[in-house]
């Protein structure tokens, strides 16, 4: 299902949570809405599901406007942040719910529910009540409940944020695998850049109700449209283009800002810009250094070697890794 969102606007009181949003989600794509909390990503998702009514603009599924279609008739399936698995129904009945509403015959219903439970690895839990399940298992049930109705659009509202780190990786892989198998148009809301970078086909980065940039993970990371996108996705050293460091790096423009990522800072034996190590954090595979230049500018660098605090080092950043921002 191809989704178009055109000039979508919504305000809560004086607060404009969606500000003229336009974007397209291609059929079969795993599309991410990424941004800090309060950026409007969840509201956008709820508008697509029908739980938030837009003030203006249009949402089209396969070319057909659905803004006046009630939520229950949109054939989306939403996976909630807090699972929203019904505590009074068994795992089986939770998954069967959408099919019962759709009046699917008993035999087929049984077959489809079991298939969905198998897909998420929960087939042996069919008779259990949700109170006896862990968070990861609950989210698997929620996943099965969503895919079993074969929705036109799968919606994910920060589905991993209530899980611990290990489970998060597990369910992340699960969702990616399911999406690969089902190829259903999916929209996934998160504030976690790693989730977005590792899972997404394409990402829309949002801030203050506006879309900052849309693109593949690689495009967004390597060619960020502005300083916000660059610093929200990955880490960034950001300086005015007129700063002494910029000149030392050979930057000739004096307007706007320049930025470069810590992993692009190269420590050199000789030549380069002299600096002192203020701090060194051991990260396991690498170390993160906090450096200070003679002019007092501080920057982060990632190095495979560690350095003693107070040591004198020299560094450089190659020209192709320097990003320019106009505003």
């Amino acid at each position: 299902m191809h989704i178009q969102i055109q000039n979508l606007t919504k305000s809560f009181g004086a607060n404009r949570v969606l500000d003229d949003i336009t974007l397209t989600v291609n059929s079969g794509e795993l599309f991410f809405l990424l941004g800090p909390s309060g950026c409007g990503k969840t509201t956008l998702l709820r508008a697509i599901a029908g739980f938030a009514e837009p003030d203006a603009g249009d949402i089209r599924f396969g070319g057909k406007s659905i803004v006046s279609v009630p939520p229950r008739a949109r054939n989306t399936a939403l996976v909630f942040q807090n699972y929203a698995v019904w505590p009074h129904l068994t795992v089986f009945e939770n998954v069967a719910y959408g099919l019962r509403v759709r009046k699917v015959a008993d035999g087929e219903l049984r077959r489809r529910v079991q298939a969905a439970l198998r897909q998420v690895g929960m087939e042996t839990y069919a008779g259990r009540k949700p109170a006896t399940l862990s968070g990861g298992q609950l989210q698997r049930v929620a996943l099965a409940r969503a895919i079993v109705v074969e929705p036109d659009v799968l919606l994910f509202d920060e589905p991993l944020s209530n899980l611990d780190a290990k489970l998060r990786l597990e369910i992340r892989a699960e969702i990616k695998r399911l999406h690969g198998a089902l190829k259903r148009t999916s929209i996934y809301v998160t504030h976690d850049q790693h989730e977005a970078l590792t899972m997404a086909d394409r990402i829309a980065v949002m801030r203050d109700g506006q879309i900052q940039q849309t693109g593949t993970p690689r495009e967004i990371y390597e060619c960020p449209a502005n300083a916000f996108v660059a610093s929200f996705i990955g880490e960034l050293n950001l300086f005015p283009a007129a700063a002494p460091l910029a000149a030392a790096l050979g930057v000739t423009v004096s307007d706007g800002q320049i930025g470069f990522r810590p992993e692009h800072v190269e420590l050199t034996g000789s030549g380069g810009i002299p600096a002192r190590v203020l701090d060194c954090a051991y990260l396991g595979a690498a170390s993160e250094l906090l450096l200070q230049t003679a002019a007092g500018e501080q920057l982060k660098a990632r190095a495979t070697v560690s350095a003693a605090v107070g040591a004198a080092v020299r560094f450089t950043v190659s020209g192709e890794n320097i990003l320019f921002f106009n505003h």
Partner: protein, 559 residues
């Protein structure tokens, strides 16, 4: 539907709350269509009515003080100390709250009148001379009324004081202890002042309940109280003195509630989230034994009146002896053989079931509107739905009678002088509505909106979502609320006594009242048997509700 629901609910409150109250005020403040305070003047000038107010005030003051004296130490004990059987004793302490004092009055009389059990026992020890035995209940049962009210109402104070103390941040006490203060000093300088707003709120409720209770003074035939006089005046809708008496009562209640809100407003000392666990003292063997014995003794005293009712319902002969000398179950048979009583059981069941159904519809609708919808006038609806809890039953019953018995009313079917069923059902329902609204409201609040959205998202319509997701999830709350509502309606006093005028329409309570007024020798026994049946029903219902609600039961009784 979305528009219709608030409209229906508004209409209900307009017709059955706002209008009767308006009629009440109109009757009290107008004379020949003009504003006048003449009737209030008449009341103040009449020494008898002044005496009534004085008596009611004294009853309320003494009942409240007595209840406070019992409830405060108990609240401290249950908050701060650990001892075996504490949980069980805690629920036993709430027992008197559910035993209707109206029924208990019969039993209390049997024990404490001049030739009652107490004096007959004391005579044997030589302390009492039966030629001129002391009257423990005092002229016309004045002390009896106070004792019954205090025994019935102390659990309310216990609950609110306990809650107020439990909500205190334990760190505040620890700070005082850390600076060197010890037990009693900490209680006097920290715990009590900080718990005072909560205790005061409970005190207001108890005072008002004792002031406005109609059943007990009536059972003692104690005429010189405000409720008794209101009861006498209800059937004279043309007599403006009744209006003025009710409005004065209403003003007093409003004043007390405002005062209670002002003094009880500052809740600044409640515990932080995830704060320290309050420290409790584990009592030694002897103190624990004393505490248990004390609480059991109190419970025993509280059930004495009802014990008397049970005894009398089985006693074939009980004359000038401490206990009955002959026993019989015949009065229970007679309850079902006599028209007056058999009909009253049937009537009460019918009225209560109808009023419960109405409450369920209204309560669900209101709770749903309050938790799930946004609309103008939401705060007003919230207030209206809770108001019946603050309105004494007497006030609303009087207002209903005078409003709906007016000749030429467009709602003639509600006239209580005909078949009182419709009006009684609505009066019962209005009175207990807050319990169901609260139960359903708590249920809806516990059910995350996401659970309903998940259902809608999967294609369910509003009705399917309600029936298959919301309703099952709030069922336990609804059932518990329904049981309470139903059993309170079965034992309703003010509405039943004031609105049912013809004996074939009497509910249980009015049947008991009218039996007690009869001269036939066995009438009192039959009344007691009927009372015991009502108590049994109530006990069964509350046991069920407690099983369903568990710890949450207490919330329904709190203010």
């Amino acid at each position: 539907m979305k528009k219709l629901l608030p409209l229906t609910v508004t209409l209900f409150f307009a017709v059955f709350l706002a209008w009767p109250l308006a009629e009440l005020l109109k009757g009290a403040f107008t004379d020949g269509g003009r504003f006048s305070l003449r009737y209030f003047q008449l009341i103040f000038d009449n020494p008898f009515y002044s005496q009534c107010f004085l008596n009611s005030a004294l009853i309320a003051v003494w009942s409240t003080l007595l209840a406070l004296a019992v409830a405060l130490p108990l609240a401290w004990l249950f908050n701060r100390c650990e001892f075996p059987a504490k949980t069980l004793l805690n629920s036993l302490l709430l027992l008197p709250l559910i035993l209707p004092p109206f029924v208990g009055a019969i039993g209390l009389r049997q024990f404490f009148t001049r030739y009652g059990t107490l004096n007959l026992l004391l005579e044997k020890t030589g302390l009492v001379n039966l030629a001129d035995p002391p009257d423990w209940l005092a002229s016309g049962g004045f002390y009896g009324i106070i004792l019954l009210q205090a025994l019935h109402l102390y659990p309310i104070l216990f609950l609110s004081a306990q809650a107020a103390m439990a909500n205190l941040d334990p760190a505040l006490r620890e700070a005082a202890a850390n600076l060197g203060a010890r037990g009693w000093r900490v209680f006097r300088t920290v715990t009590l002042p900080l718990a005072l707003p909560g205790i005061f709120a409970g005190t207001t409720i108890v005072f008002i309940a004792a002031f406005t209770d109609l059943g007990v003074p009536l059972m003692f035939s104690f005429q010189a109280t405000v409720p008794s006089q209101i009861f006498n005046l209800v059937t004279q809708p043309d007599n403006p003195l009744g209006y003025a008496l009710v409005v004065l009562t209403l003003l007093l209640v409003a004043l007390l509630f405002l005062l209670g809100r002002r003094l009880g407003g500052g809740n600044h000392a409640t515990a932080m989230r995830g704060g320290a666990q309050a420290l409790t003292v584990r009592l030694g063997r002897l103190p624990a034994l004393l505490a248990t014995a004390g609480v059991l003794g109190l419970v025993a005293v509280s059930v004495i009146p009802h014990l008397g009712v049970v005894l009398q319902s089985f006693s074939a002969r009980w004359f000038m002896t401490a206990l009955p000398t002959e026993w019989s179950g015949q009065f229970y048979r007679e309850v079902f053989r006599l028209d007056a009583t058999a009909l009253s059981v049937k009537n009460s069941l019918l009225y209560s079931v109808c009023s419960l159904s109405l409450d369920l519809l209204l309560g669900l609708a209101i709770a749903w509107l309050l938790t799930r919808e946004k609309f103008r006038g939401k705060a007003l609806l919230d207030t209206a739905a809770m108001l019946p809890l603050a309105l004494p039953g007497l006030v609303l019953a009087f207002a209903y009678y005078v409003t709906f018995s007016k000749p030429g009313s467009p709602l003639a079917f509600l006239d209580p002088r005909g078949n009182p069923l419709p009006l009684l059902v609505i009066a019962y329902a209005m009175h207990r509505l807050p319990y169901l609204v609260r139960a359903a409201y708590a249920g809806f609040q516990q059910v995350s909106a996401a659970l309903e959205e998940a259902s809608t998202n999967l294609g369910a319509c509003a009705w399917q979502t309600f029936r298959r997701v919301s309703l099952p999830l709030i069922m336990a709350n609804l059932v518990a609320g329904s049981i309470l509502t139903f059993s309170f309606a079965m034992l309703d006093v003010s509405n039943s006594l004031m609105l049912a005028q013809e004996s074939r329409f009497y509910p249980i309570t009015k049947a008991i009242y009218s039996l007690m007024g009869r001269i036939t020798p066995t009438a009192a026994n039959i009344a007691c048997a009927l009372g015991v049946l009502a108590l049994l029903l109530l006990a069964a219902a509350l046991y069920l509700a407690a099983r369903l609600m568990g710890q949450k039961m207490g919330q329904l009784f709190r203010s």
